[in-house]
Assembly symmetry: C2
Homo-oligomer: 196 residues x 2
């Protein structure tokens, strides 16, 4: 018996979208382990972008993240923001992927995040000793890349056009959700009181 | 029909322990709303300490937190660390209570935490615009109180002897869990490699 996605399968957007949707623990039943060795940084970032798209399609904030083992290139965890879906004041793409991964050693791992990390997630990434962070969008948000580097984390910026366009569209459509996700409902209330 | 804990019920440790264990959404069915107006800072901190005890009894890290509305004194959310119970690399007392509260405005709320907040939680508390943080233990950990004050958050230290003793005991018993909860499994591995 083969697997749906064999080792030599062509890397297409359809395949990367499917990988985004398949639960992490189910990946070995669908995707050949060595297929992942063929994926580039850009490919893993596109998986994060598809996770952002999944969240957007559910009415949520479009931010996704994928954690990859630097040696095996296996996906250790992945997820997306769940402010709306989980009624959760703080579960960003990064925390969602970390929760999905569970208690693992992240010091030989890369996290691909579709949007530049907030203050909270940046602190979490260096406290959990990630070796490397790849940021897929510094057009819509930026700021903690320098702090992460100062803490010894390797940071690469690799903008994904799909992630950048999706976040810009969502911010135009749902400025309230965007603000709540960064600064909480208090900021949304103050903005409304100021006539914003 | 009355409620198990009426408005004029004596405030005892047994009552505070029960409040820690009753799910937040079930509190109105068991505790008279005005009973909470009679609780002091020290009482709410003790509820956080009982949540820490609950986590310890489950084999987890003994850190609890309670979020209280500053006007009504109603409990908006509460919880405890779930590193062990939830296989979660980052769910501290503070995040657990915030998740339990859901999407609420925290700018008129106090969070009582049984242990001084880590870097990640401190960032989260100011980003979610908490008005006040009360810290129940600066003997076993400390350091972010100044940062929180610099960000405009009121910080009070009100050590709870039960919380302090419980955390000290747990740290002696499970230094591995203590280290993992603060710095991740990478730190535990490095400590073992160094003969620690």
């Amino acid at each position: 018996m083969g697997l749906l996605i064999e080792e030599d399968c062509t890397v297409t957007d359809e395949v990367l979208q499917a990988i985004a949707h398949i639960p992490t623990r189910s990946l070995p039943a669908v995707v050949a382990e060595r297929f992942f060795e063929r994926l580039s940084d850009r490919d893993f970032m596109r998986v994060a972008a598809w996770l952002a798209q999944k969240s957007y399609d559910e009415g949520g904030c479009p931010i996704g993240a994928v954690i990859v083992d630097n040696e095996t290139r296996r996906i250790m965890g992945k997820g997306h923001n769940s402010l709306v879906q989980g009624n959760d004041p703080y579960n960003h793409g990064e925390t969602s992927a970390i929760r999905d991964a569970g208690r693992q050693d992240f010091s030989h791992a890369t996290i691909y995040t579709s949007l530049s990390p907030c203050d909270v997630c940046a602190a979490l990434l260096y406290m959990r000793q990630f070796e490397r962070v790849v940021v897929g969008d510094i057009t819509n948000a930026r700021g903690n890349e320098g702090q992460l580097r100062a803490k010894g984390v390797k940071v690469d910026v690799l903008e994904d056009p799909m992630a950048v366009a999706l976040y810009a569209k969502y911010r135009r459509e749902r400025p309230d959700l965007d603000l709540e996700d960064w600064k909480g409902l208090a900021a949304v209330r103050k903005c409304k009181e100021a006539g914003g």
